[in-house]
Symmetry: C2
Subunit: 332 residues, 2 copies
Amino acid sequence: MADARYDVVGIGNAIVDIIGHCDEAFLVEIGARKGSMSLVDAEEISRLYSKMGAAVEISGGSVANSIAGVASFGGNAAFIGTVANDEFGRIFTHDIRSIGVTFSAPPVLGAAPTSRSLILVTPDGERTMHTFLGISTSLGEKQLDLELIRNSAILYLEGYLFDEADAKRSFHLAVQTATRAGRKVALSLSDGFCVDRHRAEFLDLIRSGIDILFANESEIKSLYQTESFELAAESARNDIKLAVLTRSSKGSIILDEGRTVSISAEPISSVVDTTGAGDLYAAGFLFGYSQGMSLEVSGRLASLAASEIISHIGARPAVPLQQFARDQGIIF
Amino acid sequence: MADARYDVVGIGNAIVDIIGHCDEAFLVEIGARKGSMSLVDAEEISRLYSKMGAAVEISGGSVANSIAGVASFGGNAAFIGTVANDEFGRIFTHDIRSIGVTFSAPPVLGAAPTSRSLILVTPDGERTMHTFLGISTSLGEKQLDLELIRNSAILYLEGYLFDEADAKRSFHLAVQTATRAGRKVALSLSDGFCVDRHRAEFLDLIRSGIDILFANESEIKSLYQTESFELAAESARNDIKLAVLTRSSKGSIILDEGRTVSISAEPISSVVDTTGAGDLYAAGFLFGYSQGMSLEVSGRLASLAASEIISHIGARPAVPLQQFARDQGIIF
């Protein structure tokens, strides 16, 4: 896709993660569904923060993590999202730019603080999230750089954008802009409960405007309202050209119309924090795919990036993924 | 020391660390002395931040780290320091309280932002720091809770307080208050360049108002202006009742007047980030000592805490140290 200036442009919530450890009993105490992402207001996030233990602050956001991953692989990547003129906004902006991502939106003044997500990591490495969207709810159409979208081979969007009316309108305008420019559009379903909130619209999109779908097991089962992963996968195969379905330690499958490519999960000695596993899987796949690599190699890069991210705290790569993939002999 | 409400009260700069990785060439490029702590102004910290890579934000501060460690061992600990009414102030306050430390100073309004330290970690795990003191320079005498100091078995201070006139006055008032109440006073020399800035005053203090001195090899050599650790140690033995001298992987020695207790470093498979090693060593020692444990056991707790902190990013314990020490059979 040599005519595009960027390999991938992502649109998503610009979030700083506040990551701490807790035990299972704490999740019960605060009434949280393990593994889920719940939207909370300013008061509730303050209440939860005051109850949780010591934490680490680190840039996050689902599509933002993926875009950082694409850049870490050496891809040309850009991000569109909104931050406020506050410390968390400066942290987010610094971190995504310092990994080489083009992120040029000026901070939005006054409206609300930069988005943040409290992430509670249980001893099994699973993460449970409470997100305060803050300024991300202001991701309006005027924040979209349409020229940037037209200049990117792949547009990548997160399902979480559907949780806000303005962001949803921006989502549709971005898809329309990319499609008209002959670009590919990729979507992450974000999480099972997000699918639950927006099932009909997601199905519409998948059957019309989207080229590549990323979903994990619970998301794809939620989308097709079935307990059977196999049934859900067959439905996805019928609905979309390219479906990339992840199953944690069981690896992933890539459904390319009639063809199925199976990718095993990378072996890993210990899972520290699963935050960002799906995001970095998408990063590896999108990077490989944007470079014209095979589905098999793209899938291996995806698994490799996911294995790196779950070996430490936080959802941004701790090592340059390009070098990591070279060391593994996947790319040269 | 059953009549004291707190085992240890610490006074120090309340800092949020901004920790990122860099290579040796980057330190050369920015003209930094590896392993040192340099004080910088607001403009310089912005300039360095914009040049450094993606980072993690996590509560720090030398004595604050030690006090968090004492609490993590199960000790009654309190901290005195100043934060501003901003995000970094809220992060610092949340983290130190959530580990069980009493920290009751209200944020200081308006004067300057909460202190922060850019910490660059090289591949060998060594850290090089640039600190913007911000609001910490407002640690005046009125911030001191004298009743709290009188009610603490040990007062623990950092040499870094000498870098600001107000903080230095507070330091002296705190020492006087603790001494008059019959409490022990402990001092960390902080770093070799800090010793260089304040050698004469530190020597005065050590020969008069201080009961326990913590120093690493470069600090104690700088204090006595000698290249010989052995000579420096003998000078310390003559000047102070209890000197606790650390030597990284070579372990540490505790000089109790005529007696010398040698403590080996805990074996560790890989050093990720040495930030906080000395702070957590002090935490283990101060906890053991405040509980009336022997110098040998206090030293083992010290080494154990240091080994925990260098195995991960950040200078606050990632696991409860009380449980960790129990698992190792050092305490019951």
